[in-house]
Amino acid sequence: MRSALVIARRELAGYVSTPMGWIVAATILLLDGLLFYALALGPAAGPRLSAEVLSRFFWTTSGLVPIAAVTLSVRLLTEERQLDTLVLLSTAPVRDREIVLGKFLAALAFLALLTLLTVYMPLLVLVNGKISVGQVGVGYLGLLLLGGAVLAIGLFASCLTRHTLLAVALGAAITAGMFLLYPLGTVIDPPLGGVLRALSLHGEHFFGFQTGAMHLRDVVYYLSVIYFFLLVSTKVLEAKRWE
């Protein structure tokens, strides 16, 4: 675990000590602000109850967090391969799962920082409306779990190839596919439709977080997705040692 934390610290420093990390953060904030203003708060959105405005904020942000997560995660291992530093990492006295965990934790920490920077938007609603701090907290927990799940998917994609673009395409395709399971599940007959909806990354697993209701099933789902893709990433990394 200590090795994982050392790797995480090194990776996190890489994010905050380069202009790119801050440019990504500012871009995400700008887009989130635009969406928040256009779809939730601004005159075009019409007069809405404060809880509804907050729910829309989390809904729009839940579209941006996966984009940021894919962008952040795909470079984690592809970059190591491109710079030929993965060999150094692989020959170091660390296990593959520690490499994967360390990189994941670093990306998750930066994503959390990036997500929490948007907190001024719910606070604007809190000033004029009737929402609770708990509702805001649950919404952010949902965003972090969703972001963590997409980070794990992106990390898996970055394990598969040394080309960043291909990794982005793969990560985005898996994420989009898992997002689309929900609308697909609504048109397919049960029991398969129900299974697809239950596997969907967004949809019914995120609705509760939007409204301040935290469900055990949703938390378990996101943690399962994170664990599963980190496990697969570790296995892929182990298999790559044979190359």
Binding site: P19, Y37, A44, T118, N128, Y227
Partner: protein, 620 residues
Amino acid sequence: MGVSRQAPGWLTWVLAGGLALVFLGERILSGASTARLVASSAGSLLVLASAAWRVASWQRARAEGPPEAARVEAQLALAHAGCVLALALYFLSTDAGMSLLRLDFADEAARGRYRTALQVLWATVAAVSLLPALVAGLAHGARSGADAGGLLEAERVGEAFNAGLVIALAGTLLFVVGFVAARRDRSLDLGYFRTSSPGTATTALARSLHDPLQVLLFFPDASPVKGEVEDYFQALARSGVRLRVEEHDRLADPDVSRRFDVRDDGTVVLMSADRKGRVVLPVEMEQARGRLRTLDRDVQTQLLRLVRTKRVAYMTVGHGELNDTVSEADLAQKGLGGVDAMRSLLGLLNYEVMNLSLTTGLGRDVPTDAAVVLVLGPRRSFLPEELAVLDRYLARGGSLLLALQPRSDFRLGPLERRLGVRFDGVPLADDQQFVRRRGDRTDRGLLVTDRFSSHVAVKTASLAGSDAAALFPDPGRLEAADSATVHPVFLVHTLPSSFLDLNGNYEADGPREKRGTYNLAAAVQPDSARALVYADAEMFTDAVLSSSRINASLAADGVRWLGREEALSGTVASEEDVPIQHTQAQDVGWFYSTILGAPALVLVFGLVGVRRRRRSGRQA
């Protein structure tokens, strides 16, 4: 010799193809019996053939090949056999399979349980068999051309097989965990919730009771709602109201329940002297949340029944008023709704609302039981006889609420002299302070103002503070009539940035369209009568009353003043959610802070930090 010699690499793909064909037949072609039979049979045959080939290959490798190759073939054969087993389990879960086994179930539930168990089982077996086979097949295929040495290659394929198995088992386990979590779900709702506290209007009302207030709570002991209701009444008692709270269990105290005719748990009986009122709440917190947010409103309604009997409020009809059916389409098009909210408010204040038309009194005389008459936004003029009836009603001490609308044919006639107020139908606009709703220039007609006098008819609004504004959609203006013998008190004024929009283009163009503070409401007391005149009627529509608490307070305080109940004026506490609305100026501020301010701040902060770190690194 490499392991690839034992069986072709594509055999695993034949297995996967066979299973896909079965899926196609059973799920997608299930409606077409022939196609289903062909696809499912072909798929099953492929699975069986590939499994047989793999087993034969394993036997051959065991007899002839190196032991490491035999081990890999054994693993693959096991995976293929697993897929055959999954198919068999699937078959046993179908109607055909069940009839083959001659299974007889006690009921449909038992049949369903059997089917579900087998469905979970075959899916699990298929996953833990197919995935390792595919992963091993991929690893196998990747080196099929190279003869990397038997032992190393077998190790590699074996490890890939194990990795696939671990992933499949983990996936299956997580699936089961997810299923159990969904079935035994627990939730924590942290959405906004607070029981309303007693508002000043309720407190004033309770204090005005001659006899002490008795509150009887009929809740089960375990109900968490009881505590919330108790807290509310304790807060009311702390504000100087003489009250006594009694707790009863409806089932344990059947005599008391019968005496107060209580049939449901969650009943709150309010009693003063011989009058009774009741509020019935759900006993479970989940269902009671919404009602507890507006408990003060419910209690106030019941207290009003204890204070006095129901009164009658008449709304005039037949002149295109807001409450007239002919106005419905127009109001709906404007997105304003009707006047249901106003009717509810009157009901809350213990008024019964009735129509007053030419046939029901407006042609002869206002009925004697009229506590108040409301004229809400007439678009057509009243007959001289109708105006004379209203004039006579005021002369004998009646109460009248007149809400007028620009661009209408209505004229005050003799009422102008009686009330001392003249209505100017030129609409007002404001290009600086207005509410954004439609996103175009017409929004400038949605005036907001926080300029209220200290008159009791606008008491709550005047005490609400500078950030509390009322909305006046497309108002006209009021002036003192020239030949008036009574002097109106102007209650509400526009902000100084408003102007007369003579040409209706929502622009302040020309000296005639001058900016200034204009009167929007007036209170008049000619002799013993009372009248309120508003230069806007749409401020009493559903869309406005439900979104602006200040507008609602103007309506409530106005009706209380007209009904000589101004002592009961005050706020109704509510924890109901409120719409987020802001003026154009606030919009601009919010826009720049959310769109540009925050991202720019983060960027500058980040880049300065990076630069500093680099500089200190160079110096070091």
